[in-house]
């Protein structure tokens, strides 16, 4: 037994209202730079729908993840090492910009600089890649809330595997949101695909990261990741991915997406697992066995033998205690309501989901029946094939039994808790019907409905003796390290050169540059660019406001830079 710790997340899809706050705050924190305009480390998809990038789940097309070869051994679906090196000059299975979407901005300057005319001037969309006018036809959430679903719904990859009867009906019957980040897999196929070995899994917390100094832009990871959560920064020529906000997690703060989640649907915690069993579990012959196999890999943190082995493996006592309090472990293994996203990709994903019961509840309620009654809900779960089959395609490789079991537990909880909330006697037979006790069910209810910040996010900090190494701790001046970036800017070979700056420094300069910038694309003049997405309302970037009467007087803000003090025509 080789115990390792993994930082993991569970999202409760019943609570997601599809507000995209997680996406927007994540973008602000991580991908508000040139080169990654099209990149969303966190995105929210409406299901049924195509997702982002379009139809990423079609692994017959994109060849992401692992598969079992003829001898039953685990191998990369896009081909092994030799195949990768032979196709390195042109990756045959890489999504293009059109599969994501062409990023754009608006020509806001026209609004203020247009001469007096009969018609109101409009800000036209400009491509962020070419700077030319463009027609917006797609985005990261173009089919949000089933928008345009009559044309697009057929393109949902999962629909292909559903029966025809289900297909004809389902856009009328249900819809839910699926927020996605990097899965920080136990068996990451992106890392396995990287020819340079730049993608690594951190031994301490299992977070998968890209070493920006070692990445050479071979682009194989983009193909390798079946969730298409590896992104190619087209300005720097390096791969980038969700970082699980490691600078925050290291000091015990939840990720930005979790912190800002309006529905409070995300849970973060540690999971201990047996690293020796990962390969065996990922090689489970049957796709539908992968969910159970992955659960078997996780170790019970309250088992004394596991604790002893964990301590022997150098996991600190406070981390083990955090693993024992982990909401993620509880939802996955104690209450068994969380399911992995697409286990059939065999990467052992570590962001799990509680499937939504709301499609079932909505249908029962709409038919005029009591949607809180356990019997009604159980019957509905059995008869309503549409949501169940679809959820099974998403979470259990098509096996409906685990999904039904989870939905029955959620339904039972709903019904059981109604009695308690209305002051009636609790019906202990309800938890019994789903293999739980009343006490366990109440605990699950507490965790799903009431849990406070400290219960939803159980994040042990990195150790104090390491604190000086941590990125975001302001114990020392973050600018002054050997070969540091000084006051930012770029190296002699344009935007992509020079050493990588610490994230805090980079964000500071980025925002400052963004606030004082003006034209859409050319990185050469990025010092004078305005991107409203990133403009935080402070300062007066050149070209954003009409000139003040009497010229630029008053006190320009501290960050203004040269562009602000230019006299305006």
């Amino acid at each position: 037994m080789r115990v390792m710790a993994q930082m993991a997340m569970v999202m409760n899809l019943d609570k997601c209202i599809g507000c995209h706050t997680c996406s927007v705050t994540c973008k602000q924190a991580w991908t508000n730079r040139t080169g990654v305009e099209y990149v969303w480390f966190n995105n929210v998809e409406t299901r049924p729908g195509q997702g982002y990038p379009r139809r990423y789940e079609d692994q017959e097309q994109w060849r992401g993840g692992w598969t079992l070869n003829r001898r039953g051994r685990l191998s990369l679906k896009a081909g092994g090492r030799f195949r990768k090196l032979l196709t390195i000059f042109a990756n045959p299975k890489m999504p293009g910009m059109d599969d994501y979407y062409q990023p754009w901005t608006y020509d806001y300057e026209t609004l203020t600089s247009a001469p007096l005319q009969e018609h109101t001037p409009v800000a036209r969309p400009k491509s962020l890649l070419t700077g030319k006018d463009m027609k917006i036809t797609w985005s990261a959430n173009w089919d949000d809330d089933l928008g345009g679903s009559p044309q697009h719904i057929e393109k949902d990859v999962l629909v292909r595997d559903l029966s025809d009867k289900v297909k004809a009906e389902f856009d009328k019957t249900f819809m839910f949101y699926l927020p996605r980040i990097c899965e920080h897999c136990l068996n990451p196929s992106c890392a396995a695909s990287c020819p340079s070995g730049a993608i690594y899994k951190r031994t301490e917390d299992g977070i998968v990261l890209v070493d920006q100094d070692r990445c050479r832009g071979w682009r194989m990871c983009v193909t390798g990741c079946p969730y298409k959560k590896m992104y190619f920064n087209h300005r720097t020529g390096k791969a980038e991915k969700c970082t699980f906000c490691f600078p925050r997690v290291e000091v015990g703060i939840p990720t930005v997406c979790s912190e800002t989640c309006v529905g409070r649907l995300r849970y973060i915690g540690l999971v201990l697992y047996d690293a020796d069993k990962v390969l065996e579990a990922a090689s489970t012959p049957d796709d539908t066995g992968l969910y159970e196999a992955q659960r078997e890999v996780f170790l019970d943190p309250s088992d004394p033998r596991v604790v002893a082995a964990a301590e022997a493996a150098g996991i600190h006592r406070d981390w083990i205690e955090a693993a024992q309090r982990s909401p993620v472990y509880a939802l996955i293994n104690t209450y068994k309501v969380a399911l992995p996203l697409h286990p059939e990709y065999r990467t052992m994903p570590m962001v799990w989901y509680i499937p939504p019961l709301s499609p079932v509840v909505d249908i029962v309620r709409d038919t005029g029946h009591d949607a809180e009654n356990a019997g009604n809900l159980f019957a509905a779960i059995e008869t309503l094939r549409i949501p169940v089959e679809y959820l099974a395609e998403l979470f259990t490789a098509g096996d409906t039994k685990p999904v039904e079991a989870v939905l029955r537990r959620l339904a039972a909880m709903r019904s059981y808790m109604r009695d308690i909330n209305l002051g009636r006697d609790a019906d202990e037979s309800i938890p019994g019907r789903v293999g739980m006790t009343g006490e366990l069910m109440y605990d699950m209810y507490r965790l799903l409905a009431l849990a406070k910040y400290e219960e939803r996010y159980v994040i042990p900090t990195a150790h104090e003796e390491q604190a000086h190494k941590l990125e975001e701790l302001a114990t020392e001046c973050s600018l002054d390290y050997e070969g540091g970036p000084g006051m930012g800017g770029s190296g002699p070979f344009g935007e992509s050169s020079g050493g990588a700056a610490p994230i805090a420094v980079e964000n500071f300069h980025m925002l400052r540059q963004r606030q004082t910038s003006d034209s859409p694309v050319d990185p050469a003049d990025k010092h004078t660019r305005v991107n409203l997405l990133n403009w935080d309302g402070k300062g007066t970037p050149s070209g954003l406001f009409p000139p003040e009467p009497g010229g630029p007087t008053g006190n320009p803000p501290a960050d203004s830079g040269a562009a602000e003090t230019e006299p305006k025509p």
Binding site: L76, R81, F82, L85, F89, A90, N91, P92, M94, G96, M97, S127, L129, T130, G131, K132, N187, P188, A191, A192, C194, P195, S196, G197, Y200, K201, R202, T203, E204, D211, D213, R216, G217, W218, R219, F232, H234, R235, T236, G237, A462, Q466, H468, K469, E471, L473, C477, S478, Y481, G484, G491, P492, F493, G494, S496, S497, G498, G499, P502, V521
Partner: protein, 239 residues
């Protein structure tokens, strides 16, 4: 005098720039050490042009190693006659050369006509393309001219010994005196290419990922000590 400058001073200057340039770039600009692939923007033309160019240029490289680094006496000792060597070298070399050139043409056409690729092209790239194209075209012209107009030119008696003499630290510039001008021009343009090499995107060649064949699939790494701002200070250094 002219020979000394062209065939002794320039080669050593080039080697120095090539080596020190790479060392400097690796130390200073690891983050910029990348292929700067533009496949994300356009993939249809790239899928033809890029393999054509890269495999072509790899064969050209092999040919140059065979022609320049391996002495004629070795191939003869192996039982390959001069004529046989010449025919094989010219046929394969010309074929690989034209593949390279065709690939390069497709790539340059793509770079110019695909909007996003063109706007991602830097001045540095344009200069590099110019020199690279010049080297390939002149080299190909030298081969074709020598074999079509004349009856072939045996560079293994002049250029190759000179090339090796540079690395023996016993340069023999006189060998290059009577080499046809196209071959001379090809060598000089190649020197220029090697001079600018460390400062262009060509650096990606030196980090060709052959280690991928032997390393384990999943890389584990401990939290990077260099990630943060400073290495932890010793107790007595703390304020």
């Amino acid at each position: 005098m002219k020979e000394t400058v062209l065939w002794v001073v320039l080669p050593y200057v080039t080697i120095t720039i090539f080596v020190l340039g790479h060392v400097w770039r690796y130390r200073y600009d690891k983050f910029g050490w990348t292929t700067r692939s533009s496949q994300l923007y356009e993939s249809r033309l790239l899928r033809i042009g890029s393999p054509l160019f890269h495999f072509g240029v790899l064969f050209v490289l092999l040919g140059h190693i065979g022609g320049l680094a391996i002495p004629a006496s070795w191939t003869e000792a192996a039982g390959i006659s001069e004529d046989a060597y010449h025919v094989v070298a010219v046929v394969i070399g010309t074929l690989a050369g034209f593949c390279t050139l065709a690939g390069l043409a497709i790539l340059i056409y793509r770079r110019r006509t695909t909007g996003p690729v063109f706007s991602a092209t830097t001045v540095n790239d344009k200069m590099m393309y110019l020199v690279l194209t010049a080297v390939i075209v002149i080299g190909l012209a030298a081969t074709v001219a020598a074999n079509v107009v004349d009856h072939g030119y045996n560079y293994r008696e002049t250029v190759s010994p000179w090339f090796r003499s540079v690395f023996y630290l016993n340069p023999a510039p006189d060998l290059m005196r009577d080499v046809p001008p196209l071959f001379q021009l090809h060598a000089l343009s190649a020197l220029l290419l090697f001079c600018i090499w460390p400062f262009t995107r060509l650096v990606h060649m030196l980090t060709a990922p052959v280690g991928y064949l032997t390393r384990p699939y999943i890389v584990y790494r401990s939290r990077d000590a260099r990630m943060g701002a400073l290495p932890p200070r010793r107790g007595w250094e703390r304020p």
